[in-house]
């Protein structure tokens, strides 16, 4: 039975690790997933309130704390509700059942005769005088979680499925709310002089001009090639770090050429080769067509730079971080610092949205390394803007060739998706190195080439297998071993480039076959949930009245099921193109099964649409010389308010279906819908992101 349990329960079998009843008539729910701005903590509280039959306001959530909350690994991959939500539901349903069983024995009645109203127990509609707070005993928590309790049927839900306001938002519109705002006793500010790359050696550093520019007191903490400016005045250390670059001479610094910033640079480089799916057809049709699509390197580009606090007192290291995974970060800290994990506590605090693996963990290691050098003080590290853009792990560039062998009707009978990509995971928990570690006197070995397994949704292969009814579908994955920069998880991993390629190529094949793109899709798609969302956005976008191509106005459509097993999303998108692309309107439909907080879900769907539109139209990390050259918002522009379209979103009602993670499902469909709408507007296809004014001009000039 236990192998059927969600991973979160398998790893945390004690009931009291999850839940506690406090004397102020609140319920303390502890979870390992963390709030990243996606609203998951509010949704988890809804689930607990529902199963316990306690008012939502009584549920206090502690999330992401290696001392007091369960280990649920990383908060990634749209898994918070699918995995943690399922765990919270089983835990709270089981606790409620245990308590009511015991009360039934006490009252000599059947458990079914008991009910719960805001935490108080009633028998045959009369008060029993008992409630969770006065009746729950140690014995209710004694046994391991069995995971066998039957949660409520969805038809009985009163809190789940209702739009509920986010718990973390009020502070964020009022003042202090973030890790950046924390003030601890004996706090010192720190800024880092970053090693330009692994292996670079600080040959000389001229402190005098840096001290002059800083205009105040600070100390330089140096450990190997790691250098930090530490002092009581944040302005001073910020100025020191800003001035330091030209006064540091690095030997063995890398030299990057601009050609390396392009996806096509990956082709032909040393790789680890992987093949998935069906064997090739022995005798495929003669008609084979292909097209190649690409996405460049993309920055997470958090609004607030990475920040961390660390203090080393009495042999215990306490770290505050906006990490996605407090326990994995603790393990990484133990590894880098040579401290036993039992002497490290990591606590989550709110940061700016991260959209994957950004500098959060690295900043935490920065702070910890300094704290060990400067014990008994709190070290607050804040990355500079150019440091955030220059040193965060990037979403890797990808080049994708879609190849189809077509039958006489112009439909694929064999589809091959050939992918060139750097790795999508170099988290500390998956063998990646922390930046600071590489600068220390004993750097770790080079990370081994790896990518998430297919069972976890894959990395470069994420969403590469088309969900159409093609008889033969296969993936050739060239995992490129040495991209010019560190790459790691960016929202959706390979899903956006792969869906972009599949859904654009399907439009190209439809045109070749002389069939309407929606009709073409539906003619080779039997999944009713997929058909339903496509038909929905086609109807709402007035697809039937779509005009001929080349008018300057385009309507495009695309869909995907995230990871081929999470939420379904379809996007139709209207735009205009003259010199650049202007988005006009977006229609979105999603099917995520049981949705805990529909307003939170809608927020995620729409945020994904806008972020993907920004990436598709504008974003590319540029590189030259020692590293990244897109180091501010002028050189790395994102979508602005006046460029954001109106979005109409529908969430399909499917409460009887299991919850499907929806945080990343609209990204790929949006990119592909833009690709298809631009092709419709221009009558010419653009296959490489971003769709900048320069690229459009180049394509139009042939």
């Amino acid at each position: 039975m236990s192998d059927m349990l969600p991973l979160s329960i398998q790893n945390n079998r004690r009931m009291d690790r999850w839940i506690r009843f406090d004397p102020d008539r609140t319920v303390r729910l502890a979870v390992g997933k963390v709030e990243l701005g996606q609203g998951n903590v509010t949704a988890l509280a809804q689930i607990a309130a529902e199963e316990l039959d306690v008012d939502l306001a009584r549920i206090a959530v502690l999330s992401g704390d290696t001392q007091d909350a369960p280990d649920e690994g990383q908060t990634t991959s749209s898994q918070s509700i699918e995995v943690s939500g399922r765990s919270v539901r089983l835990v709270t349903a089981e606790l409620r059942a245990r308590v009511l069983d015991r009360l039934a024995r006490r009252l000599n009645c059947a458990p079914a005769e008991l009910s719960v109203e805001d935490g108080t127990f009633r028998h045959a509609d009369a008060p029993t005088g008992h409630d969770y707070w006065n009746f729950v005993q140690a014995e209710d928590f004694a046994a391991e979680i069995a995971g066998t309790a039957t949660p409520k049927p969805h038809t009985a839900y009163r809190v789940v499925g209702k739009p509920v306001p986010r718990r973390d938002l009020p502070a964020k519109v009022a003042g202090a709310a973030f890790i950046h705002d924390m003030v601890r006793p004996d706090m010192l500010h720190a800024r880092i002089l970053r090693q330009p790359n692994r292996g670079a050696v600080l040959a000389a550093f001229d402190e005098a001009p840096v001290r002059h520019a800083a205009g105040g007191d600070f100390r330089v903490v140096r450990v190997g090639n790691f250098v930090a400016f530490v002092g009581p005045d944040e302005t001073v250390v910020q100025r020191a770090a800003a001035a330091a670059g030209p006064h540091a001479r690095w030997d063995n610094a890398r030299q990057i050429t601009p050609a390396q910033q392009e996806a096509d640079w990956l082709v032909g480089k040393p790789t680890n080769e992987r093949v998935h799916g069906d064997p090739p057809m022995a005798d495929p049709p003669k008609t084979v067509v292909e097209a190649t699509y690409s996405r460049p390197y993309i920055a997470h580009a958090a609004m607030g730079p990475s920040c961390a606090l660390a203090e080393y007192r009495g042999g215990v290291l306490s770290v505050w971080s906006h990490t996605q995974g407090p326990y994995p970060l603790r393990a990484a800290l133990a590894n880098v610092l040579g401290l036993p994990a039992e002497r490290i506590v990591v606590r989550h605090a709110h940061g700016a949205g991260c959209y994957g693996h950004n500098g959060a963990d690295d900043a935490a290691v920065d702070a910890a390394v300094i704290a060990l050098q400067v014990p008994d003080q709190c070290i607050r590290v804040l990355w500079r803007r150019e440091e955030e853009f220059g040193f965060e792990p990037l979403g890797t560039a990808m080049q994708v060739t879609a190849r189809a062998a077509l039958d006489d009707a112009g439909k694929p009978v064999e589809w091959t998706q050939e992918i060139w990509s750097g790795t999508h995971v170099q988290r500390p928990s998956t063998g990646g190195n922390m930046l600071t570690h590489e600068a220390l006197p004993t750097p770790p070995p080079d990370p081994k080439p790896t990518d998430p397994p297919e069972a976890a949704g894959g990395g470069g292969t994420r969403n590469a297998m088309p969900l159409y009814d093609f008889p033969v579908r296969r993936i050739l994955h060239h995992l490129v071993l040495a991209p010019p920069v560190r790459t790691s998880a960016l929202r959706g991993l390979g899903a956006l480039p792969n869906v972009f390629a599949i859904e654009c190529f399907v439009d190209e094949l439809a045109e070749r076959a002389g069939v309407d793109p929606v009709a073409y899709r539906l003619s080779m798609l039997s999944d009713p949930r997929a058909r339903r969302i496509i038909e929905d956005v086609a109807a709402r976008s007035n697809w039937a009245r779509r005009g001929p191509a080349g008018s300057g106005r385009g309507l495009g459509l695309a869909w995907a099921r995230y990871k081929n097993k999470a939420a379904y999303a379809a996007v139709a998108l209207e735009l205009e193109v003259d010199q650049e692309v202007r988005l006009k309107r977006v229609w979105c439909a999603a099917d995520a099964g049981l949705v805990i907080n529909p307003d939170g879900g809608r927020n995620q769907l729409e945020g994904g649409i806008i972020q993907a539109a920004s990436m598709t139209l504008k974003e590319q990390v540029t590189m030259e010389g020692e590293g990244v050259t897109s180091i501010d918002w002028k050189t790395y522009p994102i979508l602005k308010f006046s460029e954001v379209p109106e979005i109409d979103t529908v969430i399909v009602d499917a409460p009887d279906q299991p919850t499907l993670g929806m945080g990343e499902c609209t990204m790929g469909p949006t990119a592909a819908a833009i690709g298809n709408a631009v092709a419709h507007a221009l009558g010419v296809r653009i296959r490489d992101m971003p769709f900048t004014r320069e690229r459009i001009a180049r394509v139009l000039l042939g």
Partner: protein
């Protein structure tokens, strides 16, 4: 040196060099954390405050240049106990995800509504073009500002 300024309606004296960024003075000397460091380059708007009613990037503004002037931060706009209609409207619309950009945006919106009590969607968007949001909460933010405008026109205390 001592610099006198009026912050959120209260006269304050701060001991700082003329050239210290206003943002650092607000956050580290006056413990007003609502204005946020985003870029230090006047590009993202996370640090926006009002100086004599006009939106100003606090990250690069030297505190010496605001001596004797009125500075308003999000804490001076309203509080959780006594929220401004803009703050209410942002919560009503759940207009945000990570929320890092929101205090600067509310400051900018306050300046907009002070000069234009009934802006169109396009006018709101144009006013907010100095502000970046990475999460994609833009449609909700635009709705929230329009909703706040309506609340204020209907008589809620601005």
């Amino acid at each position: 040196m001592a610099i006198e300024l009026v912050v959120n309606g209260t006269a304050r004296s701060v001991n700082a060099a003329d050239t210290t960024p206003l943002l650092d003075v607000l956050r580290n000397q006056l413990d007003l954390k609502g204005a946020r460091y985003g870029c230090g380059l006047e590009q993202c708007g996370s640090c926006m405050v009002l100086v004599d009613g006009a939106p100003v990037y606090a990250c690069a503004r030297e505190v010496g240049t605001v001596a004797g002037r009125h500075v308003t931060t999000i804490e001076g706009i309203g509080s959780l106990a006594n929220p401004h209609p803009l703050q209410l409207a942002f919560l009503d619309e759940q207009a945000g995800q990570c929320g890092y950009c929101l205090s600067g945006i509310i400051i900018e919106a306050k300046a907009l509504l002070d000069r234009n009590p009934d802006p169109t969607r396009a006018e709101i968007a144009a006013a907010l073009d100095n502000h970046l949001c990475r999460c994609g909460a833009h449609p909700r933010i635009l709705r929230a500002v329009a909703r706040a405008a309506a609340l204020i026109r209907e008589g809620a205390a601005p």
